[in-house]
């Protein structure tokens, strides 16, 4: 590296040739994605039992994992926006509510939150239902997937609130002042001037949150959701081959996270282009 940076004619020639090469090469990180996919395919081809069998067995779990991740994330984007605006609100009550929400959620482990939503929350509802004499509530049974999405959303919504808040605060004050001086209301200025700029700022951390959420979604396997991780555990408990099962599950997660990372990078690049 050091010799490439030397200003000698040789060095600069080398740098130039490297530069040319790098413009021709497509994003090298795609190589990693391809590598992992090839690895999975080779494993499945070389030893159908157990690798292909594992992949087939857990495939419905993959679908569940994707559904939980994507639907939680969409809800997180909305909840985070309200949380972030709440944290910036001049209304003291709204500010206090948003702050208490963020502080409480950040202080409790996600696994405990998920368990609470699945076991404690329905119990609370049926107690209240019994107390009020409403049978529909008293007989309430939690849907594991719905509770998992709720739990993930509430937790990640708090982190997303802070990301949005930081993004909005990073926009210079003059932008809001200019918008207001032209006669826009606070809401119009937020909607047309501040948020479109803030979204570009927060894209990288928001992308990171998506990947983190995807990985943390494996925790829902504890609360009766048959996601990828739980299906892996089910396969292992009947076939007793931990090495193959968990290697396969790990590789599948890896493909999903690497693909997401590429997606995030692509969106970031596009939003920069528009600037």
């Amino acid at each position: 590296m050091a010799e490439q940076l030397e200003p000698s004619s040789n060095g600069s020639k080398l740098l130039r040739s490297l530069g040319v090469e790098s413009t021709m090469r497509i994003d090298p990180w795609w190589g990693l994605v391809v590598l992992v996919i090839v690895l999975i395919v080779v494993l499945c081809l070389v030893s159908t039992d157990p690798f292909w069998n594992i992949l087939r067995f857990v495939s419905d779990g993959i679908v569940i994992t994707v559904i939980i991740t994507v639907s939680s994330f969409v809800l997180v984007l909305v909840l985070g926006l309200f949380g972030g605006l709440g944290r910036l609100s001049r209304n003291r009550l709204i500010y206090a509510l948003a702050t208490v929400y963020v502080e409480i959620v950040r202080g409790i482990p996600l696994l405990v939150q998920l368990i609470w939503w699945y076991f404690a929350f329905p119990a609370v509802i049926s107690e209240v239902g019994g107390w009020l004499g409403i049978t529909a509530l008293a007989d309430y049974k939690a849907n594991p997937i719905a509770m998992a999405i709720l739990g993930m959303t509430v937790c990640y919504g708090a982190y997303m609130s802070e990301i949005y808040r930081a993004g909005i605060q990073s926009i210079p004050r003059g932008q809001m002042e200019a918008a207001r001086s032209l006669g826009m209301t606070r809401f119009q200025a937020m909607r047309h001037i501040i948020l479109p700029q803030a979204i570009r700022v927060v894209l990288p951390p928001v992308g990171n949150e998506f990947i983190a959420l995807l990985k943390d979604s494996s925790l829902v396997s504890v609360v009766a959701v048959t996601d990828l991780t739980r299906r892996g555990r089910e396969y292992m408990s009947t076939h007793f081959n931990p090495i193959e099962t968990w290697t396969m599950v790990a590789l599948i997660y890896l493909v999903m996270t690497l693909l997401s990372a590429r997606g995030v990078a692509w969106i970031e690049k596009r939003s920069k282009f528009e600037r």
């Binding site: 210079p172 003059g174 932008q175 002042e177 200019a178 918008a179 207001r180 001086s181 032209l182 006669g183 826009m184 209301t185 119009q188 047309h192 001037i193 479109p196 700029q197 570009r200 600037r275």
Partner: protein, 246 residues
């Protein structure tokens, strides 16, 4: 001129920033079509006064009436702001929008004009401030002088009755100051009511109907330019000697 109701009436306005007493009872009337240039040392309260006129700062006491509408509470503020254009030291163009969109968006959102009408007005005004070939550029691709001229055009697109300029040339390189001042001079000639916080004495001589020196939150002297530049007031003389030898 005095028989007409002033378009801006400021009565005994006070403003505190925490412990700092920024405005200490300022009163000022501005007539329609008048160009008032405000000078004063930094921290004297001149920008604060300007920002009180469209309520970007809220004043603690006193009264301001703009075009017959009271600013003492925030109820009418968006209506008043549509009548007052403001130009900032740091331009504050919307960074995510092209030059054209900077002018179109506010017309669409605030004035509820159609896209075609907004664009027509925008192009007319950009032409007037001498930005013809950069309408598709983003603010960051423009020089400071160009950005400030776009900012002036953006304010004019709202058809304001009053224009406020808060040190419009202070952030500019010397060779760009003239292009901005020329635009402001044209505006003044067209009869726009203008309040300008600036130390550009050349502009003041050419365009000002009245000069005001503010120091420590109070109006020290108020006079027409000829009288002002030959003032006997010690404070005015001292300050003028500083800005004139800049």
């Amino acid at each position: 001129m005095n028989s007409v109701e002033p378009i801006i009436q400021i009565r005994d306005v006070h403003k505190h920033f925490g412990k700092v007493y920024a405005l200490r009872g300022v009163s000022l009337d501005v007539q329609k079509g008048e160009v008032v240039v405000i000078i004063g040392p930094s921290g004297s309260g001149k920008s604060t006064l300007l920002r009180c006129i469209n309520r970007l700062e809220e004043y603690d006491a006193g009264h301001i009436v703009v075009d017959g509408i009271s600013l003492d509470n925030a109820k009418n503020i968006n209506i008043v702001r549509q009548e007052i254009g403001m130009v900032f030291q740091s331009f504050n163009l919307f960074a995510h929008l092209t030059v054209l969109k900077n002018l179109v968006l506010t017309q669409r959102v605030v004035r509820k004009r159609s896209e075609e009408e907004s664009e027509r007005i925008a192009l007319e005004l950009l032409d007037k401030v001498g930005i013809q070939d950069k309408v598709a550029a983003f603010p960051i691709q423009l020089s400071g002088g160009q950005q400030q001229r776009v900012a002036i055009a953006r304010a004019l697109a709202m058809n304001p009755k009053i224009m406020l300029f808060d040190e419009p040339t202070s952030a500019l390189d010397p060779e760009m100051i003239k292009e901005v001042l020329d635009v402001m001079l044209d505006l003044a000639k067209e009869g726009m009511t203008m309040i300008v916080v600036s130390h550009e004495m050349g502009f003041a001589r050419a365009a000002a109907d009245r000069m005001i020196l503010i120091d420590e939150g109070q109006i020290v002297e108020e006079a027409g330019p000829e009288k002002f530049f030959t003032s006997d007031n010690e404070r005015t003389k001292k300050f003028l000697s500083k800005v004139l030898h800049m």
